[in-house]
Amino acid sequence: MADPAPAPAAPAIRVDGVSKRYGRTLALDNVSFDVGEREMFALLGPNGAGKTTLLHILCSILRPDSGVALIGGVDVAKHPLAARQLLGIVFQEPSLDDRLTVKENLDLHGLVFGVPRRLRRQRIGEMLALVELADWADKPVRSLSSGMKRRLEIARALIHDSRILLLDEPTVGLDAQTRERIWSHVRQLRAERDITVLVTTHYIEEVEHCDRVCIIDGGKVLALDTPEALKQAHGQTLLRLSPASAADGEAIARRFADRLTGTPGTELTLVSDDALVAAVLAEFGTRIKTLSIEVPSLETVFLSLTGHELRNRAADPREQTRAFGRRGGEHTR
């Protein structure tokens, strides 16, 4: 079975009308988007939004109920083996083999993906240098920290020279410094290699430097655009001020009643734009103690689109079993 040749200038990833139902829950509802070559694309949404389901469909673990998913022009459902060859995937939970060393894990990946021996050795050396794990080549993976394991997994995903990298919540459970390091590695990878990256995450601050962001909630695509465009379209500038006196506060509140938002108290919050800032300063400039301007952020974009914050959830049974296994379970690993 020869690899079907992709069409010229085809998008790296194309999702077209994909739906997936679990029992009575509709996990994905007619989701469509394209990811271009060399793009850094983010799927933003809370837990349970359908991000992981979509990712599993893209890497051919699940089949969509309807719609089609194309990786490099190859239909994932029809030619899963060929599609997988083009993908590098980093799952949310680490899927490294704890008992093998760093190099053995990479070697195994190479064997499994059919990379010939000399090429394998070469690439392992390169990737270890790239993610700064060369010193740990012969150490068992068990002895690595979570951040290092994540870096190793990203390196592993590229051993077979994949062109499309799928990262499922890559920085969950890591501290801020490690998160930043991971992202800097990803940026470096993009600079040095010809890869497309699709990231799913629920950390809003991390998607600021992506090329495009797709906001997804409840299985539906709510918005898809560059971060700036989204902020402009849906973002709100907020003006937070504390008045010099209560009387001044009431005066401001009466004057800009239509712009008032949030709960009234010592601080007033006004939905604002540049014109309003100038107006407030001009009319009440001397009667304001402090004033701060919140520029549109994706937080507010999300809020305005979905009407709520990113949800939190209790540990599900899988996480409980994982914790059980972590504690030593019964012949777990």
Binding site: L100, T101, K103, E104, D138, P140
Partner: protein, 263 residues
């Protein structure tokens, strides 16, 4: 080989070494018991030529062999004669017990029946059923045949069915003398008994001897109690030494024993 692989191999080798060390532990106390008393006790029939003759000058194949083995092990040989062995076919009636002897000799063959009760030493001679007659007999049909079954472990049932199939009439006799007498005076056209005894009779009276047809050969061994593994290994080593320096062959030769055919 990477360091990790080296560690793997080493841990496996360590495990194997541990098991090898365990495997050389003595599983029982039989050899140490024997060495403590500095003597090897053997139960034998009083007379069963050529294995046990009762003659001091030429004591018998088994006695000489036992002596050689005991000497190799640095032990004295103590021979317990048990008259029941010569008289009765069923070993249970010999009432041999572990207290009386460590080794049973004088006609023990390596067969499934023997191994059901005893363990065995390495074999030293071959035997089986043999037909002894004044002149070679081509056909046993209609002939009266004397049968002497003293060595337990040979297949009596097999012998009976072969004789019946060939149309011979079998008469059981209790002692070698009666068998010889029967052949000499013509009551029996031939006698069937264990091969070494048959050869002895044939040599004495100038008769011919041949292997009985259609029946398996057995190997002569010493009987050892089951579970006396250390003693068995020591005796096996002694046997190996005796065959290596030709002592075994010499003893066999003296008594006309047939060496074990290679399997």
């Amino acid at each position: 080989m990477t360091r990790a692989a080296m560690r793997d191999v080493l841990s496996f080798v360590a495990v194997v070494a541990l098991l090898v060390a365990v495997s050389v532990l003595p599983p029982d106390t039989s050899l140490s018991e024997v060495e403590k008393s500095a003597s090897l006790k053997a139960c034998v029939p009083p007379v069963y030529p050529p294995l046990v003759t009762g003659d001091a000058a030429l004591p018998g194949l088994d006695i000489e062999l036992l002596g050689a083995v005991a000497q190799r092990l640095g032990l004295a040989l103590v021979v317990n004669e048990n008259p029941a062995i010569g008289r009765d076919f069923n070993p249970r009636n010999w009432r041999l017990s572990r207290g009386q002897c460590h080794v049973i000799a004088g006609g023990v063959v390596d067969s499934v029946q023997t191994r059901s009760f005893l363990d065995v030493s390495p074999p030293y001679a071959e035997t089986g059923w043999a037909v002894v007659s004044p002149a070679p007999i081509a056909d046993l049909a209609g002939k009266t045949v004397g049968v002497l079954t003293l060595v337990s472990g040979l297949d009596r049932i097999g012998l009976a069915s072969v004789l019946r199939a060939r149309g011979a009439v079998a008469r059981v006799v209790p002692t070698p003398d009666m068998l010889a007498a029967g052949i000499a005076d013509g009551t029996f056209a031939a006698g069937v008994t264990e091969a070494m005894l048959a050869r002895k009779l044939a040599d004495e009276h100038g008769w011919t001897v041949a292997w009985a047809p259609d029946l398996a050969h057995y190997r002569l061994v010493f009987g050892l109690w089951k579970g006396d593994v250390t003693l068995k290994h020591a005796i096996a080593r002694a046997f190996a030494g005796l065959s290596a320096d030709g002592t075994l062959a010499a003893i066999l030769d003296r008594y006309g024993g047939v060496p074990v055919a290679p399997r």
